[in-house]
């Protein structure tokens, strides 16, 4: 399954919205409930589902979902 497809499932679970469709350019401004605290839920869910760990600095530099997908991809390739 593509990373974006898995991420979409995670976003739907975290934001409790079965109809949510994310794109690479999606940002926190596009999802009403995506604030710094729900972001923590998102990070935990992503780490758990992909089996990766993020460092704090890595997350601060992410501008959109595409950046997150690319970071996950890089981490998976290093495994």
């Amino acid at each position: 399954m593509e990373i974006m497809e898995i991420l979409n499932g995670i976003f739907r679970e975290v934001f409790d919205d079965g109809g949510l469709i994310i794109k690479r350019e999606t940002t926190a401004d596009d999802i009403d409930d995506w604030d710094s605290l729900s972001h923590l839920n998102l990070v935990i869910a992503v780490e758990m589902k992909f089996g990766v760990k993020f460092a704090l600095g890595e997350l601060q530099s992410l501008k959109n979902v595409g950046d997150m997908a690319d970071l996950i991809d890089r981490k998976l390739k290093k495994k």
Binding site: A28, D32, L37, L40, N41, I44
Partner: protein
């Protein structure tokens, strides 16, 4: 500075719109709404008057009248301001909900208030629908992002507005008329509905001028969400009753956007929160050298005590002072503040504002000596004092003794009259300026199948002031897993809100309780912090 309270007319909706037009400010920009991509949309006071008239007429057509309850449940959006003031024009009580509330939080508020209507967006209707059968009084849902009605009782804002007249005669509203409703959390029980009357506009306006120092022709930005009291008292009412242009930014926290707005919009007065400032402190100093902030006169802060480090950083980085203010949902307006012209004592709350008598009072209702810690109280009777906790008159009465309102905060006063915050007298958690009830979170955690017991505390956090930490004990047949931790976090987020979601979930064998079964949060907090729990003689073992 001329404020408008004409001929005994206290209607907040009128004063913030029509009243400004009649004072000659029709063409002045009232609302500068800035999108996440920094597009600017301006609305003059005349625009705001016409839009709020339309909304008042729309509500009247739907059968709303004086004393009915109407809520906004929206992220930052222009209709939020229109609906709030439009409802007030009709003498409907305007309540506001934080847009991240989950279904239980919505039920606790709309249900308790017997709300007759709510304005929201399509994606939020699902949360309301999940609990709607337990809110029989709720007749109308208005959505702002549909050009057609979605059902007989789920109506399009655009269509209602298009079909309503832009003319409306606001009734002469007495100062005692119920106006604004916010819900606040206590350490026990459900959230309580804090009701204010139209008279509150006097305090909002006086403090917006006298503390925030707002002047005609100012551009002012209050970053608070309209779901909370700061967002209505100082993000709607006070500034607009002074004819001031307000910035409202629809984007999320973003240092680049925030500082471009402060710079390019030439903001004169900025009112924000310590958590935001502490997050901004993490940016590289070079970041700020790009912004000259040519018009910024003063910065104010509210929500949590302002640490001396933030004051020093602001002085160092911006060559300006920052002034801390203190108030609560119940007080409706600023009661104690630091302000220009008064020496700042870093870490102090400041001094009482004009017309406010504050004191440190014993549990018995008697003022105590300077430097002695006690209950922070305000002499009852100021214009924006709450008039009741909805459906809870006994608890309301319990907040007063010997003519003093007991704020629930512990503080002391120094010999020069400055007040210093010490802590809460209850277990309410203040995280990023949001007051959170540990009881609500514990109750929600107990709804999760695997959870047998739960205890929730607030512990100090360098960014959030306090963070929510949940201790959970599982039923014997369940064990810890990462999936369960995520399930617990998401359950609280979806039922209550993201701000109530524990930062840390600590799995324990059991929750310490005293002999009467009360959760000993003090012990949990000490356990988390690795400190001495003090007297544990009442601990049930």
């Amino acid at each position: 500075m001329s404020s408008v309270t004409t001929d005994g007319q206290h209607n907040i909706g009128y004063l913030c719109t029509r009243g400004q037009c009649e004072a000659g400010r029709s063409d002045r920009v009232a609302l500068r709404f800035i999108t996440p991509s920094l597009e600017r949309h301006d609305y003059t006071f005349a625009d705001l008057d016409g839009l709020t008239n339309r909304f008042a007429n729309a509500l009247a057509t739907l059968g709303f009248g004086k004393g009915d309850m109407f809520f906004t449940f929206l992220p930052k959006a222009v209709p939020q301001f229109v609906a709030f003031l439009g409802a007030l024009k009709l003498e409907v009580v305007a309540g506001t909900l934080f847009s991240n509330f989950g279904e239980e939080a919505i039920l606790d508020r709309l249900g308790d208030a017997s709300a007759k209507g709510v304005i929201t967006k399509k994606s939020f209707v699902k949360k309301i629908a999940a609990v709607r059968d337990r809110m029989p009084a709720l007749r109308w849902i208005i959505v702002i992002d549909s050009d057609r009605h979605l059902a007989d009782d789920i109506l399009s804002y655009d269509r209602l507005m298009a079909e309503s007249s832009h003319e409306f005669t606001v009734p002469r509203t007495s100062p005692d008329t119920p106006a604004i409703l916010h819900y606040t959390s206590g350490s026990t029980g459900k959230p309580k509905g804090v009701l204010h009357v139209h008279r509150a506009v006097l305090s909002h306006t006086a403090t917006a001028a006298g503390v925030l120092g707002l002047r005609q022709n100012d551009v002012y930005w209050c970053t608070a969400d309209q779901g909370w009291v700061t967002g209505t008292s100082y993000g709607i009412v006070g500034p607009w009753n002074l004819g001031v242009t307000q910035i409202q930014f629809a984007g999320s926290y973003n240092p680049e956007s925030w500082f471009r707005i402060l710079d390019e919009e030439r903001v004169n007065v900025w009112y924000t929160a310590p958590t935001a400032l502490r997050m901004l402190m993490r940016e590289e100093p070079d970041f700020y050298s790009r912004f000259s902030l040519p018009s910024l006169r003063t910065i104010f802060s509210v929500g949590e005590p302002l640490n001396p480090e933030v004051i020093a950083w602001i002085r160092r980085t911006f060559s300006r002072d920052i002034f801390d203010t203190w108030f609560q949902t119940e007080t409706g307006a600023i009661m104690i503040a630091n302000r220009p012209g008064q020496e700042i004592r870093p870490g102090a709350m400041g001094k009482p504002v004009d017309g406010i008598e504050a004191a440190i009072v014993s549990d018995e209702g008697d003022p105590v000596a300077d430097t002695v810690t006690g209950n922070l109280c305000v002499r009852a009777g100021w214009p924006s004092m709450f008039v009741t906790y909805l459906n809870n008159p006994e608890v309301y009465a319990g907040k007063f003794k010997n003519g003093w309102y007991y704020s629930g905060d512990k503080a002391y006063r120094d010999p020069d009259g400055y007040f210093w915050f010490v802590g809460r007298s209850d277990d309410v958690i203040n995280t990023a300026g949001h007051l959170i009830s540990p009881f609500e979170i514990e109750s929600t955690l107990l709804e999760i199948e695997e959870v047998a017991e739960a205890g929730v505390v607030g512990v100090p956090d360098e960014i959030l002031f306090e963070k929510v930490v949940a201790f959970v004990a599982l039923h014997r047949k369940y064990g810890y897993s990462q999936e369960l931790e995520l399930k617990i976090r998401l359950y609280v987020t979806h039922k209550l809100s993201s701000v109530a979601t524990p930062h840390d979930v600590v799995f324990v064998e059991d929750i310490p309780k005293n002999k009467s079964g009360k959760i000993m949060r003090r012990v949990l907090k000490a356990r988390y912090l690795g400190t001495d729990a003090g007297d544990i003689s009442t601990l049930e073992v």
